[in-house]
Amino acid sequence: MSTVQESVTQTSSLGTVRETVPQVPATAGGRDLSPVATAAIARQQQKTAQTIARVASLVALALMLMAPMFVRHFVVFQFTQIIIYGIAIMSLNILTGASGQFSLGHSAFFAVGAYTTAILMEHGGMNYILTLPFAGCVCFVFGFLFGLPALRLSGVYLALATFSLAIAMPQFLKLGTFEHFTGGVQGLVVTKPDAPFGLKIDQDVWLYYVTLAVALIMYVLSVNLLNSRTGRAMMAIRDNQIAASSMGVNLALYKTLSFGISAGMTGVAGGLAAIVVAFVAPDGYSITFANALFLGMVIGGVGWLPGSLAGAAFIVLIPNVAESISKGLAGAVFGVFIIAVIFLFPNGARQAAYLAANWIRKLVGSTR
């Protein structure tokens, strides 16, 4: 029993929210094995899986670090965007994958983060890096407060409440009363920062590395969060509310907390987006954007943090691919892509990654 638990925690340390970890078969080669032998095999398999995942993430990280040297500037900008959306999708993943609530309104938190950064930079003259924690905190408070009424809602009703938040946000930002700060319909232009210490690299490349660093910090924090007491409480709520509350988990606290944390992370992503795009405007944060984030989460695999990046790549790149296939039918082609993905991989990139890992394990095993 202890090995099963051990293997589960080990997987989760790689960013998977504990969920349907495939059970290791108790027989090998058709013979029943003693528990000890089974455990040994299980541990062996788990180890290979872990090594594969480690190697894969290191390779991915190395590729991401070197990417700007080999590609054109516009592509670097796109990569930055993918990573930013990846952070936002990861935060959605924490909310949905871990605590089981879901939100169609994360574009609103993204917008609040973006505007906080933009206003602090343009009106407060603050350093761009320093604005990010502020964006995170403001959104955390906002998300926490929004989480309070959301406590009583679940399922479609919660979806509708968050949906209306997403619809209402652009209208709030356009409001004449705050126009001095927000720039109203026109939005706000943000000065793009140069690389510090007189480094001779392009602004976009510099911001790419800044974004990558922030994303890594966010990722490590999220993994740790999910492995902590708080993370376990959230997952208990997701799996069975009544059981969780009878075990002494404070439902109200952890539900609002997960809303707050998720909103705060999205806020940081929003702040980064404001710096990188150098512009914020109300219509950039419409319900379409909220939908895109949601889609990114489903396609990346709900509850699998690394999948967020795959989901983000999908929502940034596939619309371009669709447009290059057919200009008039770009939306339809995009829709067909989505359907193809959810038919082939209902669990998103996560499922594809499992298949790939299994395949590599077999390959490694056969050469041994």
Binding site: L160, S164, I167, L175, I242, I339
Partner: protein
Amino acid sequence: MELLTNQVLAGIATGAIYACMALAVVMIYEAIDHLNFAQGEMAMFSTFIAWQLLEWGVPYWGAFFGSVAISFCGGVAIERTLFRPLATASILVQIAGFIALFSIINSSAGLIWDFSIKSFPSPFGSAPFLGSQLISDHQAGMFFITLILLGLLYFFFRFTRIGLAMRAAATLPDSARLVGINVGWMIALGWGLAAAIGAVAGILIAPVVFLEPNMMAGVLLYGFVGAVLGGLSSPAGAVAGGFMVGILENLAGTYIPVVGNELKLPIALAMIVTVLVFRPTGLFGRPQVQRV
């Protein structure tokens, strides 16, 4: 006082649109237990079919019923090809499917009929209704058709065998299967009905909001809100909810100073969230009892 009555009347007029849409939303919710985010686009497509039939010289009511029939078949076909394979998938995946459907229908309609705004005729004319400045004949007609539709649906679900079977399939699929109801087809039928009601809603709304591929964006949202406000489990509640949303929206625009008109939509939504906080299953919905 007169301002109030006038605003309420105007609210009822716009509310009729939302009520139609809310009814379609509830229908599909009853059948498949999810909100269909592509419902508005399906209704828009049906309206375009009706418009095309009219262009080809089909008389109004011919085009009306023709489009409703085609939409019914279309709804069944979408369920059979797209959502049947996803029946066991998680709700999140199904919502992604709805978003995909939304984007496909919207973009195809744009390609076939382009994005220019088209006017759509009304069978009732647009003369003021009984001399009132606020409600036109068309809006009054829309109001009555919504009520007739509601009556028909009530009759269908309450007094016909197939209506009973559909209700059974929606509430307790497993037990329904045991007594010999073909649950899969009942769900397909639910899609068909929802598409047909959506077609009626679209055709009635088109003379007011004009016909174009994005005509339903706002309407669908209000339809959802109306449906949730009234309670997703109650068709009559959804219609009442739709009217309430129309009235609330108008009153908020008139009576809340300064920001009232700019924030009409957010204020209406805020009110609805407030209602939900106190009555989590809507005003007329059945509370869900969960077994531990």
